[in-house]
Amino acid sequence: MAESIRVLMAKVGLDGHDRGVRVVSRCLRDAGMDVIYTGLHRTPEEVVDAAVQEDVDVLGVSLLSGAHMTAFPRIIKRLEERGVSDIILLGGGVIPDEDVSELKKMGVAEILLQDTPPNVIVDTVRRLVRERGPR
């Protein structure tokens, strides 16, 4: 059987808005991907550790609380500490444009904002995994 794409979808911090993360999880599932959802109120470190255990291709973090400029640096730091360089980090939610370019500079592969159509999300995940290549 072909290897399917594994994605861990996460919410971090005090952000209870989980409709978006659930819709995205469902889209990815319907595109044939294995999606692991870790639920609300995780710490950045917990999310990264789970992603490493699960050996996911993509770590998708949904943030609607405005905490993205503190959460993503902690996630990136933990990924580095764990010596993991091949997990693709994706961000989503409500994030101002000026922060988007800043986050991409830090190492977030792509930010998918709240008005991104489902097929674009699926295509983006597939493209990034294809570009990374087999591992």
């Binding site: 290897e3 599932r29 010596g83 591992r135």
Partner: protein, 321 residues
Amino acid sequence: MRVASRDLLPRVLKGEVAAIARLLSRAEAADPECRETLGEIYARAGKSHVIGITGVPGSGKSTMVAVLGRRLREAGHKVGIIAIDPSSPYSGGSIMGDRIRMSELAGDEGVYIRSMATRGALGGMARATLDSVDILDVAGYDYIVIETVGVGQDEVEIASASHTTLVVSAPGLGDEIQAIKAGILEIADVHVVSKSDRPDARGTISDLKQMLALGLSIDASAAWRPPVVATSSLKGEGFEELVAALEKHKAFLEASEAGRARSRKIAEFRMLKTAEDLLRIRFHERSAGLVRGMADRLVSREISPYAAGEQLIEAMGARNP
């Protein structure tokens, strides 16, 4: 940069999480490249005690696994958890949410949790489940818990894959007739009644005990009598009894012929299952080119389903890989 599976092995033996994770992925993808390494792992494995947990959806398995996992940690054991969830029969994708209920184990280095989708496998487990058990075994996890998908009434494969099988029942899901029916309840080494904080739990417990008493009057010589343990994951109650029951069953297996019989049963199940998988893969490879034409002949009633099936199987034996 792809690391060869054989180079992952020494890192797995040291318990390195990223290496374990990668090898689990390859086992799950049935990557032929890792087969030899898995063989080596199999030869070294066999130290862990494997606990299979099954029960209907919503009976409280994941939450119970989280509390049980913590108790086993407190007793000084390293715990591996394989949590299986169903794949979509349509898209092949899955959403696995067992980790949500296991959040209290997050951050504990002595716990390894892996979510696994069934990908069309029946029986409540994924095809790579037992390879995964071996990998966690050689990586140093003392107890390995397999949480099956919430199964119905006769998905009993887990009993042929684990040393101790827990069947979880919850109050409010059936009457005493459910308890005497054939199927899933028969495979339990330990019965767990979860959500025992609910007032109707007492009825479920007594139904189960009565069912077991009926069985004993028929087979009074049974060497192991499955206990019924009531737990409340909400209140954390009943877990001392549960851990004691698990340890008692483990000791029973170690001290009696039953343990060897169990290991043999697991080995036999695994061998047959693997042969089945190999056969299925070979069959699909070799028959793929014939299916369409044969189906056309079937539609026009030129051939019977039985004869068509025979011809597909004959094609598998042909020397044209």
